[in-house]
Symmetry: D3
């Protein structure tokens, strides 16, 4: 069925119960505190790639475990004053790519940091340069089940920490305005931006597109597409109910819904109703839980693409986000 998930009217009301561990906040505060003990300043190295209107820096900053994380920082060549910043995270299997690729924010007067994803960058696109120096227990091909038996060991604990540290890093770069940092990303990048919005509540905005890494149990029950299907694969092999319980417990520390509940920033989402990779109910589960219980409700909007699969909003998103963010930042 083309629009295979719930009807749109049900999606708009969808508020599932999500398991959230009691020590969720402690888990993450300890994690980030440890990471921040590696307090090297980011290295920022100008490179020449032949552009005349945009300048590019090759950035390295300390992520989880102090591991060096790579990123590209692009800025307009003719800027004055401290720039607002968009930190962007990449989709599953991708990396920071080549330095010239994502220059739209810079062309619009923003600074833009494009963070590499540790250990990935080899599934499509133009690669990256950040290792993940941590091994794992038995895992399915892919990244979803690395360290899945303990939230401390899980791959995305490291990635989310890298992503928080990317915000820390841009706030330390001269010429960028630490008070005006937004996060963004599509698919996995959207999921990471959710985590950052939950863990760094003072970012000014989050702009996740068709976010991944949310409401895992629903996802696994409704789609067998990868990468959620990596969890299915793992559980199809490791069938001890105690193991299954541990797997879901691990993901309960990594769920976009729980991050959404802690977010305080404005949110601009997108969702596609024919998206079998990141099913719309998993996206609405996040959106409907975004930044609740504020004295002054935050701005949150979601753009619905009824006829699209996981390409989501594609290139329609940049002008939409540029206009939206311009009103906030």
């Amino acid at each position: 069925m083309a629009q295979f998930d719930m009807p749109q009217s049900d999606l708009e009301r969808y508020a599932p119960e999500i398991d959230e561990p009691g020590d969720f906040d402690e888990f993450w505060s300890v994690t980030l505190a440890e990471a921040r003990t590696f307090d090297r300043a980011p290295t920022v190295e100008r490179i020449d790639i032949g552009l005349t209107e945009i300048v590019v820096d090759d950035v390295t900053f300390p992520g989880f475990g102090g591991h060096p994380i790579k990123a590209w920082l692009t800025r307009p060549a003719h800027a004055d004053g401290d720039l607002p910043v968009v930190v962007e995270y990449e989709g599953y299997g991708g990396g920071r790519g080549l330095p010239h690729e994502k220059i739209h924010w810079a062309a619009a007067g923003y600074a833009h940091l494009r963070m590499d994803t540790r250990g990935q960058a080899s599934g499509h696109g133009t690669g990256g340069a950040t290792p993940d120096p941590v091994g794992s227990g038995p895992a399915s091909p892919g990244y979803m089940t690395r360290g899945v038996l303990d939230p401390h060991d899980h791959y995305y604990r490291r990635v989310f920490t890298d992503a928080v540290r990317a915000v820390d890093a841009v706030r330390a770069v001269p010429g960028l305005d630490p008070a005006r940092v937004a996060v963004a990303g599509g698919s996995q990048g959207g999921g990471i931006s959710l985590a950052v919005a939950g863990l760094v509540p003072d970012v000014v905005a989050a702009m996740p597109d068709v976010p991944f890494l949310s409401h895992y149990r629903r996802a696994v029950s409704i789609t067998d597409a990868l990468p959620y299907g990596e969890i299915t694969k793992y559980l199809s092999v490791h069938r001890d109910p105690a193991v299954e319980a541990q797997v879901w417990r691990t993901f309960s520390y990594l769920d976009g819904v729980s991050f959404a509940r802690r977010a305080r920033a404005a949110g601009l989402f997108s969702v596609a109703l024919m998206d079998i990779i990141c099913p719309p109910s998993t996206v609405y589960a996040v959106f409907n839980n975004w930044a609740p219980g504020q004295a002054e409700p935050v701005l949150k909007e979601i753009d619905v693409y009824p006829y699209n699969n996981h390409e989501g909003g594609g290139d329609y998103r940049f002008p939409r986000k540029l206009a939206w963010l311009g009103k906030i930042i």
Copy 2:
């Protein structure tokens, strides 16, 4: 088989015989002369899309039959003097898209014209706005067999003419250097750029990536993938040998190999050895025939991607082309 076409060493020597009609040049000189009777100047309308470093114009110029053809023209915001120009054509099913999408050439100090493809712009991406007001005889879904029984009626006669007129158009825009115009494009866009290079020999360079629209008979015999497969589909229905002969005759006026023989510009190609959409032998058939018999051989290079399918060189191409073109232009 992954590398399903000829071995690389055979590809490099591949010089097939291609049917070329005796009146090929006359056909095209008459076609272009007719189109140029519609000699309206292009309209160039500045639009604001929120970019600070790049300026964008919405361009309309007269194409085949004088039909209005849309394009985006992007330039650096801070340029001095007449700019060199890259005219780019789009892949099959795509269109000129949104104005912010392809700003890399502008960010590097070039003017860049992105031509819409008449009647397409609805298969992927972000659309376009150029109708094809001409009907056709019975045809398979798609654009390949519209008007296939007479080269005068064929869809690509119109598209190639539009593409030539795009070069004419940029040469008439103030601030652009008419002596430094290059053409480029991937897949269908590569095929169109081949046609322009053959029909407008004084462009300074052509940069076709994994070009389509070349050596049709070989393509149909070796791949059943679309869009070459549209020809197969048509011929699977219309089986009269006289019809088949007419179909091949029509394509003989539209073959990238014949355009290549007439090219005089420098050429930078790319080819992927696992490309089932535009099989490598059809690309080499063009490259090996590029701009022959010159007193001073033109610069021609081909980048080979042994492990790629039709994504070809992807984002690796822009820095490669930027560096290469910088040496020429």
Copy 3:
């Protein structure tokens, strides 16, 4: 899921609300009036294809815009008196084919007109010979979205008009009984026959099999199969909600449900419960709306094939229709 649409009991009650524009009738009365200004008599040319029991005429009649539309007219070789007529329309991508193919009605004592479909006839089967001389705006490969932004421009406005004119044409051929004309067709041909039944209420019967071109919004939401999927494709690219609204408005002039409401003829339908091309709910939406509110209810029947996909009733249909029509005509 094999029977993926609603349960049979729900299908039998399915009466969805369909958008119908206020000027639907005016739109079509104007359209037909214009077409009928091209009032040439059909040309009827006897051809010899080696059959001894059946005679065949090559028919050309004026369709939309007066464009020449081709058809085959077959009759028994030994007939006396004016014959009842079955006018048949073809499935998507097909054409009138070869003159010998559909001789069953003639072998049963009927005249049979098999109308070519303009611009198609190249997707399967044995072809056709009727161009569609009208161009279109940007459209997905196929015929569904040609002219989709204005009902006046839409491809099926022309095809439905051709189909009405086919009835006009057979009524003008000597030896055929203008009072005993039925329409029939499968898939697209079924959808066209619905349109004719709504636009020419005095046909004596309509016999649509697994009809296409009905309840487009439901179809697009429940199946991603082509050709309904061409609409999905178009809307996945052209995402402006105003464009989407215009697309649905255009189809509201072309919906089998609205034609069904205007039908007055007896109806014999078929539907297949595993049909992913023309989902059963879209067929029942038509059937349940067939010829409502008559003083004397019309005969309407639907044959259900629970275990079939889009092959529907296949060759079981002819004897069923022959027996059913024999009671009416």
Copy 4:
């Protein structure tokens, strides 16, 4: 690869060595002699299916083992004199279907017998009514490997015998001309017609389209499509080289190439170059061996469809065969 088999020029010369057992002729003469001991006359029962120009008889004749085999016999309603006859065999999984379906030969003044295929008639189409009352050893789903360990037990020994007896049957029906019997069929029906042509040399013509059941070893090596793939499946399970040898020995009594060598009738073939079900080399292996060594060479022709898969010539075949047979019969 689209045209995946040999180049056309190699196909035309392709003359593979085929294993043929020394007792091939004895095997078949004993088989047919046994079958003919069941010498009941066919029952011929007129049925009324509402056609006015064609008459239909429900025929039952004794096949292999004297088992009752069903067929439809159609004739023109207004015929004079003894009619020439075309005996037609069906494709794999099909049956004699409904009586009205194949009336083209009758409409052209021929008698036409459409033989049911024992035990099949349940894979597509409209069925049949002939059991195969013989069991088998372990076999893959389908009919190819039933009795595969002994040519006496093989399913096609029974089918080919039925097919020969069908010719015997029509020669015994009043109103048909026993001296003017041709055989025809597509795919499996083509393979069966090859067998009959080899076993009943005095039929006047054979018209196999894209014939199956020929050059089995080549087929299995070049395609994994069903039904040849049933042999692959069987051999993938039963791997004893002695079993494999026995399998090939069994098929050596059933190979269209050996039947071709014994044919004396005129032959009209068709082949499709993109046919992955019945690869073109297996068809040419038959055609190139057709009726060799005659004092006066027989007429043999092959129509090549370069752009078709197993649909072969489709509806283009009947007019072609009608014209060709008209010159012979």
Copy 5:
């Protein structure tokens, strides 16, 4: 959808109405009585396959019609006293395979009989040696529709009878304990074990994994996967409602649900929630009907694999069954 059938909570309550003919018990008592008139003792022939800890016998016993049915009987080499027995049936398309394959029960101190499946053993695995000497009417490729128009003729009447006779056979072999016989099998083997449990109520336990051959109508409506899809295929061709009724009547004598209602043995089931071959609702329909209405409820358990397709419990089943059966036997 990954978990495509009902939610787990609905599955646990699922109690569909199943058609059961009034003469179900008579049908089977007559069938078994007839089969038992062939009262030859099983032949038991020791073979040497190089194992030192396990002994293997090649067993032949009379099945339906007295036809010889093959099986492997394995036992520990060092056993004392009469052994408990597990009789196991194979999955669709498989056979008894090679004698060394299933030695786990023997390695645990049990006797184990692995029954061949007549006529199959050629779809995967390592084969078998038991013919099915009975022919059939028209049937789809496969075994599901052989004899489908009369329960007396249906293939599974023969197979289920063989399976009952396998229990009779092991009860006649010296060294085995006739009072401690359990039945087991996966998929088709599970379905067969259900039948035996219903027909031989004094087996001590049944251990069906992801059983096939149950609740056919539900299966056909919810999945189009083979082998249930063979029924769909048959009914898609044979469309007379009377034929359809007869098909369902035939299967009503062969339905696992009806056998479950007659079972008296302890039952250990498994089901997989992503199983598209044997959908979970068809398994629960059996489990929820298992051995009802006993004075003392029988032990019945079902293991649920939420993330598995038709591999079900795979190798997890043997230790689970060994432990469970150890408590019973």
Copy 6:
């Protein structure tokens, strides 16, 4: 094409040139020496899984880096004297599974060690328990490209070392005969056994089935199936020719062909001619290079399965290997 690789006669002669680095032997001698510095004795812990004829030990031994590697050791319950040993490695994505699964060698009087594969054990089957505590640079999903830029970092350097240490481990277990150790495995397990045979020349036999991890460049050029396709994926992203060269250099330390050249043990191979996972030419490249230049040629045999895909010989292999090894050991 079914048999898609070279013809059998070419395969038997296929002797490709393989790049082999000059320091291949030093690389491995250093690697193994380092690993052997972790010289803990294996822990061997008896577990009870309910078998009466077989005893099972849970073994842990130090692998690469001294990391603990798990394995199951099975033996006959009633054995006398030191047992010959078969060490077996698993296929890609699998692990040591459950302790009862592979008991055939034990049932035949052998000891059998089934080594877990570090970090895998989550793709199919029943899992495992051995982490891979080493991280990696950017890599495609899977294990093939982890550490692919330096042979010291590559995943298979660790796995092959584990495998050598498994042989060391069994040689240290009381009751096993260190002079009679053979290695075996299918697919990845076959590839690993090749490596061990090259690195531990005094094993008495190697029995690789359809081995993987050999002649990587050929594999990548001829198949796009996983897991070789992981290399393709990586190279499709990382396109710098220097990177490509480094990738092939890394694999040159890991190629089964180079290990074969160093083998001295008897070899029993199997190959399947329709194997698209491990194409037959890559298997013959190993077999044709097996243990060359010996004064007394070693016994080497290869069993060819012409009609099988990657299931290769399946269960046919154990009896074949048991008989063959019995003659050697």
